[in-house]
Each structure stands twice: as structure tokens, then as C-alpha cells.
Symmetry: C2
Subunit: 494 residues, 2 copies
């Protein structure tokens, strides 16, 4: 039964590759889901949510979890249900739950010291800080981006990049790194008025998601419920291609759609110069919260080159796509950018646990304390990121995920093909396990996610009608089989 | 020598109180500073900074620390210098370094599980989450504020409060919690345009500091270097009283100054209604980064009541003042607010380690996912906050700090009195150890801070010419004596 959903092609490929199994890293990972309650969430989860609701909004709860009992790709809930988790805390678990090597890390003196003595990193860094970065985060620095600012979450990582871009943009306007500020600038910025507070903008794309603080939310264009009633900067939004699937049958139409979006994007960059210049462009390699919207590598490369042509810094938001899940460590590695074409900033968080931005030396601010705050990241999370990167490297987990992606592509292709008219637009086949598909309606999608949970699989939606796969990097062939069977069974019941 | 700087009055008071010593909690805390290098930072610190500088801006470094060797109120640096730390990582260490009880906490299964399995708290909270809050953070909830949203830092705590205030303000305008959004609102907010994106503001005060993300930075009015070149919302700023010291000799002048500021504040609230209404007012009980600026409890109470009168929510930013250092758990407890006059929001971070906002049930958003993000706080930091609160309670550390404040007031009064013409405006005597004083020039202040460090005391500046005391809650009489002697010696050399 385990292989029922896997066509022969995928099985042959699987047999050929070096065997990696999540159980080599996580020996006690369950072999399959187990649902004990008639519905998930069950009574214990619901009771725990009700207790929390006295203090905090519980309407967004899916279930209450028993993290001590969770293992690898399996999330255990308060009722003892064991769920295969392909949502992984909104794409923020890299390797799995309770990976023994991470538990060992947590018991080390370095980790304990870092956890209970959080420093003001910008002023009193630990003496080993450089070593921790050099042997950890810097080993995955995107080519050409050898500077790093750490922060606490994806939203603040993006806003740190925005700030660095605005400062560098103004510095370029002033003509020199050494140019001082005028008295008028120094005084007017205290009133939030120009010229000290400049009229500059960040351009983002329709359906893009970049966070929910005030700067990042101004660039976010996912859903109205994220934005309504919150003051925002009047920054421009460019169209993002609405590709038609399957790609192989819509080559010309999709090319035209991308050309249309590119042209409009460039028009905005040009028009804004007269009113509120675009200092930075921000985009995700796959627009994730907005519904897993993809475009071609050529499209992304053209965005980057066009931004450069018009003097805007280019920020790649890899908060959700980063850390290997798309089959390369950073999703934008697939764009074919040449030397000198690298992004100006790459932002990260989620799976990395330590958030931050990679950038180039020239966007280091010209004076200290300009992009500064109390914590500026967290050494404990940096140690955690270092250990995870080591696990990923030692076990070739990016390559493993790429191969798992092939198996997943075949399995999903097979299952979804049997339910045309209900599901459509299977996508992400070039992005390893970072795949998604749509339902004909949001109601069907929501019903599907609930059915999957009752069959022991935790999935997540995105956009209006999509479900997204966001498994860990130890997710493998055996998990694909379970997932595919559950999808097939759930679709049959819809 | 230890008691040289302590006048008889303080010594008598000290003898009468129950003895608490930091060494009862931290048995291996050093007895005094020890400086081994001719200057601080020494060569090892400088070398570590140089290595970091290849990756990150090091110009803001004070020194590189050896956190494993640091203990209690003493910070050990990379050169082995042992410094009495009265800055405490920009006011963010509550009890001390490597408190044994916190090390024990870090070794517990709950802590390790929370550290390596960070959840998406708003969707998959740990099953014990309510218990952890009820026995921890909620035991220090300000009166009347029984709802809590956790976040990751002070800036995001403030922006979480801003968002809640904006949503509640618009809900009140719509007339009902159940009022839906119009199509026009839903569409316009995706373009950052009104009516979906409302023209509303947050009023803050001159010299106030509320963070450095785009919303919080718009409310921050501390220094130009924090704000210049960064786009900001055109939000209003009200004057904050410039009190004259000593207070007892300037009663009428200070009363007039506060009345002037109050009147101007109310004028802004009224005038803004026609253009960009003030949805929320935010203020720190002591304007800390802005130079430790104080005002009377009556002034703060009037601010709160005036905000209410004009329909603005009132946010008290206790990020720096919270967690006991002012002699009450929250600094605003001294304002004498009556039932029904409580702030709408109290924000916290720093010493608390877990950041967040306390608020009232009526500012819970009317729909889910409106004030939501991936992590929404951190269970590990919540467990840490719970343990710290327990230590504070079990050892009466707020009361201890109040008593230490009396000793400090006497000692500083004595020492500073001997150096009039160089130092002035000693303040915070009603705020336990949360005290500060000014220098005649910024250059003298900076020279003083450097001298203090070379004598084994880590202090921090604030505002233009001030130094601020931000010791931990275990800072006691013996530390005061060392501090006072070092201040005296440093001032003599200036």
C-alpha cells in the first residue's frame, strides 16, 4: 500500500539514489500518522485553546501541540494524534521536531550561556561571535553578499533591508560616503518631514507578502485582512504574472504575460522618479502567502536588471523560500544571475531560526548607530542556525530534497490527474518539495485541508484557493507515499 | 573604603532592612571589579571586534564579552576584565548574568523542547501555553489589562499595540464590533489608499523613543541619527516638559512648564481631528533613550485623561522602565490612575526577555488573523520570563531595588554634590535605581563613561549629556559603594 501512489518512473529514480532516511537523523520518528480522535482538533486541544482564549485570541488556532512528543516530520497534538506535518509551523521547521542532534546542542554550555544571557549584540557581542558566524550563517551567504545584519524575525529583516537601502540611496544622491547631513535635514527628520525624512518608496508586487510591521506591511499585497485599517506608506505595487498551467502548454501566453508585467513594472519605476522615487524593489522568488505564484527565471532576472537600470536596490525576500526547500539553498540561485547581477539584499528567517539580511559592503551605513537596536539578533538562534546548516550539509539534505521533489512531482501528478475538475494548476515541479496546487473554490480547499487533518496530515493553505507543501528537509519518499495516499483519499471524499 | 561614599543616613536605613545580597542568588558573583588591561576594551576585545567587522559593522562595539565567565552584576570581557555592569545590555538584564536558577531552567525538558521547536504560536500553541502564561506573565499584568499578545522585541510590541489601536479606532467609527468592511475599503487597502488604509496617526512626545522599525520609528523622537533618511509617517509630536532641578527648588516653574506642554498636547489632539486623527498616544513613563526625562505623576495622569477625552487610545511603553527597576513592577503604577483610567495598552520587552503587550478585551480585533504573524512571541522566552518573575517575587527584588534606590540616592547626592559645575540635574530619586544625571557637555560625559570603564564600571549614556543607571534588580548596597567610589574618582580626574 505504501507505494500505491508512486508510478514506476519515480520508484526507479528512488532506487538509484543514495539512501537517506529521516530515521537516520531522528531514529524514533513515527512510521505513519495516527489519529485517535473523531475530529482534529480533538477535545484536549479544544480545551487548551479555550483556556488560552481567556488571555489571547484563539480563533486562529489549528490545534494545541505536544512538542515534547513530536518527532521528525510528525507533530503530536494535545490529544495524542500523530500528524504528518507538511506545513511545518508555516514553513519554519527546517529538519524536524526534536532532532536528537539539536537536543544535544541545547545542552551545551555555549547554547545555555547564549540562551540566558542575551546580549545587546551591536555593542557587547560575545567574543566568539565572528567564529559562530563564519562557521555557520556565512557558509551559506549568497555569492557576492558577504555582509550580514542579524535580526529577530522576517518582518524586521525586511525592514532592516529597507532602511539600509534608503540610507544607501540617499548617500548616492549626496554623492559621497563622507557627505554629512545638513542642519535642515537633521531638524526636519525629527518632525518626520522632508528633506530629512525623504519621500522615497519600496516597490512590491501584487500578491507579495513581506511581513506585518508598518514598513513591511506597506509592501505586503497578499490579503485585505492583513492590511485593512492600518496606516501604510503610499508605495507602488507592480503586477505579478498570472501564469497558466501546465506551463508546457502555455508557453507563448505566459511569455506575453511576463512581458506585460515587466513593461508595467518599468513604467512605474520611471514614473515614480518625478514624485516618490523607488529606492528598493522587494520580491519573493515564489510568492508564497499570496498563493504560491511562480514566474520564470528570466522574468526575475529581468526584474533585477531593470531595477539596477533605474537606480533601485533589489531585495530578495527568502524568508519562506530559503534554507533548501526549493532544491537550492536559496531559491533565487535558479535565476541565472551573472557576476555583478547579484541581488543587493537577501533576507531570511523562518527555517533559519536566526533572521537577518545578507548584503554587500557598499550598503553598510556610512555612520554607526543608523541601523541599530538593542538585540540585533540572538546568539542562541545563531548557534541553532549553525547546527542546522551543519546537519543540512553533512546529510546533503538540499540534494535529498531535490530528489524527494522528483518523487513528489510524479506522485502528485498521478493523484491530481485523477481528480481534474476539483484540483488544478499543480506547480513548483522545479522547486523540489516547494509545490502547490489549487482548488476550484476556497470552500473545497478548506474542506480538503480539514479532511487531510482527520486522515493524519497537517497541510496549509495559501492565497485564495491553494494548498502549499512546506515539509522539512528530511521529508522523503516514505512520507510522499503517505501524503499522496491521503490526498487521493481526501479528494475522493470531496 | 567600601562605605566611604555612604552617608550615615543611608547606612542606618540599610542596617534596618532585611538583608538581601546578590550572592544569595549568585554565590560566585565577584566581590569587586578587576581591570587587567591598560584600557577597556583591551587587545583581545579589539581583535574580536576586528574579526566581526569583516562581516558586520563594529563601530558600535563597546567591548566583546565572555558571557560564560560573567556573573551576577559583573560582566567579564574577552581580556578577562571584570566590570560592574550598571548598563546591563541597554537595560535588558533583569537579575544578572548566569544566575544559577536560570541555568537550571535552561536544562529542563520544557525549556529545551521550547528552544528547539519554536512554534507558530498563533496557530499551533503548546498545550501548556495557558498555564505558562497564567503562572508567569499574567501574574504581573497591569490592573485591568487581562489580555496579552506576545511578540519578539520592543519595537514590534509597540507596533502590535499601534495596529490594535488603529483597528479598534476604526471599529468604533463603524459603530459596532460586527460591522463588516465595505468593498471599497477591501480594495483600496491593497493599494495603501483610503478608505481601507485610513489617515490616522500615533502621537508621541519630543525625546521619546519607541523603536526603530517603520511605525515605531515614526513615533521615535530621540535623535536625528535614528531617523534621518528613513521614510516616516507624518504623525504629530507633542512637547515634553523640560523640568528644572532640583525639583524642590523649582516647583512653580515646573508646574508651569507641565501646564504649557499639556495645553499644546491637547491642541494637537483637537487640531488633528480635521486632518489625520490621533488614534493612539504613546509615551514612556521615563523618556529613557531621550535622556532620562521625567515628569510628575499628575502630568502623566492628565495626559491619559486628555487622550480619553479626545478618543485616542493610550499606550504606555514600559520596554525600558518595566520589570521592577523603578521600584514598582511597572513605572506607571506611580501615576495614581483610578479604576477606569488604566492605560489601554502597556508594552514591554528588554528585561522581560519575552516582549509583548497587555491590553483590554475590547481591543481584541473583531476578526482573526488581523494582528497575527508566524512566531507571535517565543515559548522559550516566556518560560524564561516566568522563572525571572518567580525569582523577583520570591526574593522581593522590587522592594529590594526600592531600598537600594534610597542608598543610591544618598550616595549619588553626596558624590555629585562634590562635583558641581561638572555634573548636574541628578534625577530619578523616586524611581529606585533608575537614576541619571547630566554633564555640562557631551564631551565630558563621554570622557566620564570611558574613565568609569577603565576603573571597572560599565555605564551607559543617554540623550545628549546624560548618563543613566540601569543596574539589575540584584544590584545592592555593596555595588552602590563601588559605583559611588568610581564615580567620585572619575569625576576628580575630569
Amino acid at each position: 500500500m505504501r507505494t500505491a501512489a508512486l508510478p514506476a518512473r519515480a520508484l526507479r529514480a528512488a532506487a538509484q539514489r543514495r539512501a537517506f532516511s529521516s530515521r537516520s537523523l531522528i531514529p524514533n520518528e513515527p512510521l505513519k500518522p495516527q489519529v485517535l480522535t473523531s475530529a482534529v482538533p480533538g477535545p484536549a486541544s479544544k480545551a487548551a485553546s479555550a483556556e488560552i482564549d481567556k488571555i489571547q485570541d484563539s480563533r486562529t488556532h489549528v490545534l494545541c501541540a505536544d512538542y515534547a512528543k513530536s518527532s521528525g516530520n510528525y507533530l503530536v497534538d494535545a490529544d495524542g494524534n500523530t500528524l504528518l506535518d507538511v506545513f511545518a509551523q508555516i514553513s519554519s521547521i527546517a529538519i524536524g521536531y526534536n532532532v536528537p542532534q539539536m537536543i544535544e546542542l541545547a545542552k551545551t554550555d555555549d547554547f545555555i550561556t547564549a540562551a540566558i544571557n542575551r546580549p545587546a549584540l551591536g555593542s557587547f557581542p560575545p567574543k566568539d561571535w565572528a567564529k559562530w558566524l563564519e562557521t555557520g550563517l556565512m557558509t551559506v551567504a549568497p555569492k557576492g553578499l558577504d555582509n550580514l545584519v542579524t535580526s529577530l524575525c522576517g518582518s524586521s529583516a525586511n525592514e532592516t533591508a529597507f532602511k539600509a537601502a534608503f540610507m544607501a540611496y540617499r548617500q548616492r544622491e549626496r554623492g559621497s560616503r563622507d557627505a554629512g547631513f545638513t542642519e535642515e535635514e537633521l531638524e526636519s527628520c525629527m518632525l518626520n518631514h522632508s528633506p530629512g525624512t525623504p519621500k522615497l518608496s519600496v516597490l512590491s508586487f501584487k500578491s507579495g507578502f513581506h511581513g506585518r510591521l508598518f514598513g513591511s506591511l506597506s509592501a505586503t499585497r497578499s490579503k485585505a485582512i492583513h492590511k485593512i485599517d492600518i496606516p501604510a506608506f503610499d508605495w507602488p505595487v507592480a503586477p505579478f504574472p498570472a501564469l497558466q498551467y501546465p506551463l508546457s502548454e502555455n508557453i507563448e501566453a505566459n511569455k506575453a504575460e511576463e512581458a506585460r508585467c515587466l513593461a508595467e513594472y518599468e513604467e512605474i519605476l520611471i514614473a515614480s522618479k518625478a514624485t516618490q522615487p523607488v529606492a528598493a524593489v522587494i520580491i519573493e522568488p515564489i510568492l508564497s502567502e499570496g498563493g504560491d505564484r511562480h514566474a520564470s527565471p528570466e522574468f526575475f532576472r529581468a526584474l533585477r536588471l531593470t531595477a539596477k537600470k533605474h537606480g533601485a536596490f533589489f531585495i530578495v525576500d527568502e524568508v519562506q523560500t530559503g534554507a533548501g526547500a526549493t532544491g537550492t539553498f536559496w531559491a533565487h540561485e535558479k535565476w541565472g544571475l551573472q557576476e555583478g547581477e547579484e541581488p543587493d539584499f537577501v533576507t531570511f528567517s523562518k527555517k533559519m531560526q536566526q533572521a537577518g539580511i545578507f548584503h554587500k559592503p557598499e550598503t553598510r551605513p556610512n555612520a554607526p548607530y543608523r541601523n541599530y537596536n538593542t538585540w540585533m539578533g540572538d546568539p542562541m538562534r545563531t548557534l541553532q542556525a549553525r547546527e542546522m546548516i551543519k546537519i543540512i550539509r553533512d546529510n546533503n539534505l538540499v540534494e535529498h530534497t531535490r530528489k524527494t521533489g522528483d518523487v513528489l512531482t510524479a506522485a502528485l501528478g498521478d493523484v491530481l490527474g485523477r481528480h481534474q475538475g476539483l484540483v488544478l494548476n499543480h506547480r513548483g515541479q522545479n522547486e523540489a518539495t516547494f509545490q502547490a496546487f489549487d482548488f476550484v473554490t476556497a470552500a473545497k480547499r478548506d474542506a480538503f485541508v480539514a479532511k487531510m487533518r482527520s486522515k493524519g496530515v497537517q497541510m496549509g493553505g495559501c492565497g485564495e484557493v491553494a494548498v502549499r507543501l512546506r515539509p522539512t528537509l528530511t521529508f522523503g519518499e516514505s512520507h510522499v507515499a503517505i501524503l499522496a495516499d491521503a490526498i487521493d483519499a481526501s479528494l475522493k471524499e470531496l
